[in-house]
């Protein structure tokens, strides 16, 4: 059921975002925070919560879009080991900056979502793994958590329900790859953030080899609304299989960059023109990267693509984390690609051969091309080296590193050649 006018639907994660001081418990409570929590703790069973989340059709907002209810149902029960809940607040994908706003403006929404998720999963210890640079956000979260403890919303016997949960904020220290869930787990164990191969999946063997659920901030922040209004309510927003609202972080050559929470299914064009005030130069974008720098590029021909997981796949890209990077006609795709190549070379954890050596190699070739020392043969090497990284490594960072190079070669071969020719002359 698609609402005829998407704007009718209230925002989910950003519902309270503009209320002054809503990061404090008192203000947040005045506006509905923790209102429904006692009901959940008293009347809902774990199975019911997971069921509601399944019905809601919520898919992970961290990038992979995996159905959240299904992920939760994979957690084995009665293993004799503790189950952990980890909130992925690493937000490192270039272009993504949505989780930051939830955490700094409405931290209690995330905390409430985590309590509910923790309750459903039988979690005693939960952690928020936040990227190291977000010092302010970590401080806001810590202050909110402190207030929550004082109000018996965290800690022993929450609101007399018999359920207890500890919540700890853990700062990363500058490593994009730690956003990958198994790298995050390694990092939280006090080790370098090198992803683990799967299987075993974290749901079965994660943090300290115990069952572990890793969810994105936005995913967890959606849970309170789903439980309060019901899974069916959420499922009615957006389009089938792509339900609810999604925050899009729009950056690049738009007039009003920023975060916009819109119902799934809104078109790319609507987002950019109606919400972001259009492009800085020209009328159609040269490139739109719809899901963060790791996703394949779209061009003007896909301007009307709906913002859904399925729609983006059909268009040849991915919705990813919803980080929309827009390049207008003034953009230099070679320099831009070179910069992204540098990013991935810098951020590769180093363990897989293709990613460790491939990312560095791609960067050096792009450096050379940008400096006017490229040659036709480089294009073939770029293509080979990136094709054989993607899908052949432990984690998807290598796929992300390949995407910009392959996109550049696919959509702008002439522009790259011009670079070779122009500078060779």
């Amino acid at each position: 059921m698609i609402p005829s006018d998407p704007k009718q639907v209230k925002q989910i994660c950003f519902d309270r975002i503009n209320i002054p001081d809503v990061h404090t418990l008192a203000v947040a409570r005045k506006h509905g925070a923790y209102e429904f929590l006692p009901t959940v703790l008293a009347e809902f069973t774990a199975a019911k919560i997971i069921d509601e989340v399944k019905v809601s059709g919520l898919r992970g907002r961290g990038g992979a879009g995996f159905p959240t209810g299904l992920k939760w149902s994979f957690v084995p029960r009665n293993t004799g080991k503790p189950t952990y809940l980890l909130c992925n607040a690493d937000e490192g994908e270039p272009g993504t900056f949505k989780d930051r706003d939830i955490m700094r403006f409405d931290p209690h929404l995330l905390i409430e979502g985590m309590i509910m998720a923790g309750f459903a999963l039988g979690v005693r210890d939960a952690y928020i793994y936040i990227r190291g640079e977000f010092v302010h956000e970590a401080n806001v979260l810590n202050a909110a958590i402190k207030e929550a403890y004082a109000a018996n919303l965290l800690g022993e016997n929450i609101l007399g329900s018999g359920y207890s949960m500890e919540l700890t904020v853990h700062r990363g220290a500058g490593a994009y790859v730690c956003g990958e869930e198994t790298a995050l787990i390694e990092s939280l164990e006090g080790k370098p953030g090198r992803p683990r191969f799967k299987p075993p999946f974290p749901a079965v063997e994660g943090f300290y080899r115990c069952p572990t659920v890793v969810n994105n901030v936005e995913t967890l922040a959606t849970v309170p609304a789903i439980l309060k209004h019901g899974g069916a309510w959420h499922a009615a927003i957006g389009v089938p299989n792509n339900t609810g609202c999604k925050i899009f972080s729009v950056s690049g050559h738009v007039n009003k960059p920023g975060n916009y929470e819109v119902p799934m299914g809104t078109s790319l064009k609507t987002l950019i023109e109606d919400y972001c005030g259009g492009l800085q130069h020209g009328s159609v974008p040269k490139v739109v990267i719809p899901g963060g720098s790791s996703t394949p590029w779209l061009t003007a021909e896909h301007y009307n693509t709906p913002l859904t997981y399925d729609g983006m796949i059909k268009a040849g890209s991915m919705l990813g984390s919803g980080a929309v990077i827009v390049l207008d006609e003034t953009a230099d795709v070679v320099s831009f690609t070179r910069r992204l190549a540098h990013f991935y070379a810098h951020e590769s954890c180093g363990q897989c051969t293709p990613c460790r050596e491939g990312t560095g190699w791609l960067e050096r070739i792009m450096d050379r091309i940008e400096a006017g020392q490229g040659c036709e043969g480089d294009l073939r090497v770029l293509k080979d080296a990136s094709t054989h990284m993607a899908g052949r490594t432990i984690c998807a960072l290598a796929d992300g590193a390949a995407a910009p190079i392959l996109s550049m070669l696919k959509h702008f071969p002439e522009e790259v050649r011009a670079y070779l020719a122009e500078n060779a002359a």
């Binding site: 954890c349 051969t353 050596e357 050096r364 054989h388 899908g391």
Partner: protein, 784 residues
């Protein structure tokens, strides 16, 4: 079983097996770098990619478990291209210096470059250079060649237990490194060059001297410890260049002692020709003259024989034949480490295999520095520890193990009866008892809490006891071992299939000696005492070095040089200083022969390296001695000799006939009527003396090895150590102190160390205080 299709061929493997292992087990060749069957899976090289039908992308076969009905392809065009690219990625920063790299010819990178790589690399950017680091005396690093497979990191962490090698940085700046200024502290370090698939870690002692294709390979058995590992002796011409583990043998690793002892084979300490003493010095001569001298010294005399257990089973038989033919009244000593020669309730050797010990519910190490004694068994215990299984320990020192010991107690050797008694009482409360308990308990007035560790472990379904040197060399060893035997019987561990009684022997082949020499053996200390008292006219020492090894250096020193001595063996050692005649016998890698390790595992050496000088197999020397002394030569061929051995050890006969060695195990002897209760302890001296065994210093071969001596210096501890409380309670401070024992008084430098038991004087057996090895108790007083 799970069945799957590999390249359209149906195969079956145990559930949970990786695709790569399934391929290996069925002879399907999948290339890989980072995988190693003995290490955890890292899946980082990405060379082992295969295709699984229905999967969108290729799978790393090393980390993907098989599933029922899976269809795997290992040879598609797309995989060929993937492998080619992985090779290209790996080679972009590789120095390609194969012509000057020792790994050349035995290098995975080189081999795969040929079979899977492209003929030409396309990398045109700058290359990475990486700094080297220190990995101790045996490992050379050339880190620019590293391909980041992390095998060495996993080895250091999981096998050696040191974790001193790590992965620094990330991206293509990632490097494998050790801690600057600290060499790797591992007795297994020599394995690193073996597991490194490229030339980043190379064997230092053999660096730049030889190449794989120049080597001749000889399969042998290491006799440097009772574990008796299979070894692959690599020689160029007759010169041994390296010793390496044998693929698919029970242990995939070798310890540094067994590996690097080879430089002793060519050392000056070798006895390579017959020698006689002339004008005070040993001089080379012919066999005839040497034998003439020997006859003059031995004929019609009362002779004492000391020999080493490390000789082959056949050599031992020939010693026995020689004794019986020439000196039928002679007593024989072969164990320099046992003070108490009464029969033990269970004799030296293991009733379990290493694999069974690794798998047992409980393991208790009783009085042993296992890491020095049996580094590979220690490695198995570490593996077990990593799997979450307990390893408990009771002993005189917190010996370094590089693993977490689950329960630990530090005691004095004189506490052992009280420990065992405490354990007996605890198990009896739980209804487990044996016939001799009462008498045993009645003889021991004290109880020691450490007994709880032992008793707790004994309650498990399977419990392996590793009884070590602190008990075996105890003055009252027979009583202690009987006590332990009673405990095992009481707790139901004495049935055939669940026997956990393992007495760690001192040397290779000790297992078989109780059977062949039990009736004529004597303690080495006793033998020297008799010689000193004039009850013996001459000594024959065969491959043993009582002044350098064991518990009787002072006793030996008192008689050697005073009693005529015929030395037969491969290495001169300290004994050589006193020999009147030396007869060369070929060394362990130079002989055909049969070896039985501590587990009772049998190995037959058939392809020895050539002897360097005039030395002969020991059994031939023995037969010749019989002949020149006018005796009747009992055997003239190896076959005849083996027939004699088979008389005592019938299980061996079949082995020689079939060549199938794994079907039979030689079990340690059991003396069911060896009942003795603890004696009242002599408390004349306040402190118990425990001497430290060092794998780098113990044994004639190790001392003759320059490589091991170098490592020994790195691993040296103070010569005499005590716990700080020991000094404090006597009002003493560390420094020059007087040690009083039955040998008299002498001043030594005494250091302190927290992990020695209070009340124990801990000595480095091969250091300046080595002479104290003879004593089991002493006291300390102020210096001067």
């Amino acid at each position: 079983m799970t069945s799957l299709l590999i390249n359209d061929q149906e195969v079956e493997v145990t559930p949970g097996t990786s695709i790569l292992e399934a391929c290996r087990q069925h002879g399907v060749d999948v290339p890989y770098f980072c995988y190693h069957p003995e290490l955890s899976v890292a899946a980082n090289c990405r060379m082992c990619l295969v295709e699984v039908e229905g999967w969108g992308k290729p799978a790393a076969s090393c980390c993907t478990p098989v599933s029922e009905g899976m269809k795997v392809k290992t040879q598609t065009e797309s995989l060929k291209k993937d492998r080619k690219m992985v090779m290209e990625y790996l080679l972009i920063h590789h120095p390609l210096d194969c012509p000057v790299c020792d790994q050349g010819g035995g290098c995975k990178l080189q081999d795969y470059a040929l079979t899977h790589g492209a003929s030409k690399g396309r990398y045109a950017e700058h290359k990475r250079a990486v700094v080297n680091y220190e990995l101790g005396p045996f490992v050379n690093t050339c880190m620019t060649r590293c391909i980041h497979c992390t095998r060495c990191v996993r080895f250091a962490d999981e096998v050696a237990g040191t974790g001193d090698i790590g992965v620094l940085n990330r991206s293509d700046h990632m490097t494998i490194a050790g801690i600057v200024e600290e060499a790797l502290e591992s007795e297994l370090s020599g394995n690193l060059p073996d597991i490194c698939p490229v030339g980043a870690l190379l064997d230092k002692p053999s660096l730049d001297v030889s190449r794989p294709w120049e080597m001749t390979h000889h399969k042998g058995t290491c006799t440097q410890c009772p574990n008796g590992c299979d070894i692959n002796i690599e020689s160029r011409g007759d010169e041994v260049m390296r010793i390496r583990p044998v693929e698919n043998s029970p242990e995939p690793w070798l310890c540094d002692r067994g590996r690097y002892v080879y430089d002793a084979f060519r050392s000056d300490a070798r006895i390579l020709e017959p020698r006689v003493r002339r004008d005070g010095a040993l001089a080379a001569t012919g066999w005839d003259e040497a034998f003439e001298q020997a006859v003059a010294l031995l004929k019609g005399k009362r002779v004492g024989i000391v020999f080493s257990p490390d000789w082959s089973v056949e050599a031992h038989a020939s010693i026995r034949l020689m004794r019986d033919a020439l000196f039928p009244d002679a007593k024989v000593a072969y164990d320099l480490h046992r003070r108490d020669l009464r029969p033990f309730a269970f004799e030296e050797g293991f009733s379990m295999t290493t694999a069974q010990i690794e798998a047992a519910d409980q393991v208790v190490v009783l009085g042993s520095d296992l890491r020095q004694r049996l580094p590979l068994l220690m490695q198995r215990l570490r593996k077990r520890g990593r799997a979450g299984k307990p390893v408990a320990r009771i002993g005189a020192m917190n010996y370094r193990t590089n693993m977490t010991i689950s329960s630990d107690a530090i005691i004095r050797p004189r506490d052992w009866p009280a420990v065992i008694a405490r354990a007996m009482e605890q198990v009896r409360v739980l209804g487990k008892t044996a016939a001799g308990f009462d008498a045993w308990l009645a003889a021991v007035p004290e109880r020691h809490e450490a007994g709880k560790i032992l008793a707790d472990a004994l309650m498990a379904d399977s419990c392996a006891l590793l009884v070590g040197e602190e008990i075996r060399s105890h003055d009252d060893a027979a009583a202690l071992i009987y006590g332990i035997d009673l405990l095992m019987r009481a707790c139901g561990h004495a049935e055939k299939d669940s026997d956990g009684r393992n007495l760690i022997p001192e040397g290779m082949n000790t297992q078989s000696l109780a059977a062949s020499f039990g009736d004529v053996r004597i303690s080495a200390g006793e033998l020297f005492a008799q010689a000193g008292a004039g009850a013996l006219d001459a000594l024959v020492v065969i491959g043993s070095d009582p002044m350098g090894d064991g518990l009787f250096p002072s006793a030996a020193a008192a008689v050697l040089g005073k009693v005529p001595l015929v030395q037969i063996g491969s290495i001169s050692g300290r004994t050589g200083e006193f020999a009147d005649v030396q007869l060369p016998a070929s060394a362990y890698p130079e002989n055909e022969g049969t070896f039985v390790n501590m587990e009772g595992r049998i190995r037959v050496a058939t392809n020895p390296i050539r002897s360097l000088g005039q030395e002969r197999p020991l059994w031939k020397v023995m037969m010749r001695l019989i002949q020149v002394m006018g005796g009747e030569v009992p055997v003239v061929s190896m076959d005849e000799l083996r027939a004699v051995v088979a008389g005592r050890m019938p299980e061996l006969a079949g082995i020689w006939a079939s060549g199938e060695t794994d079907s039979v195990m030689v079990r340690p002897a059991r003396n069911r009527d060896a009942a003795c209760v603890p004696r009242k302890q002599d408390q004349a001296f306040a402190l118990d003396v425990v001497s430290r065994y060092s794998m780098y210093r113990e044994g004639m071969w190790a001392r003759a090895s320059g490589l091991l001596s170098e490592a020994a210096d790195l691993h040296a501890l103070d010569d005499v150590l005590v716990h700080p409380d020991t000094l404090a309670s006597a009002g003493l401070a560390a420094g020059e102190l007087t040690v009083r024992s039955f040998l008299g008084e002498k001043v030594f430098h005494v250091g302190v160390r927290e992990d020695v038991s209070p009340g124990v004087l801990f000595i480095a057996r091969r250091g300046v205080a080595g002479e104290l090895s003879d004593v089991s108790a002493a006291s300390l007083s102020g210096g001067k």
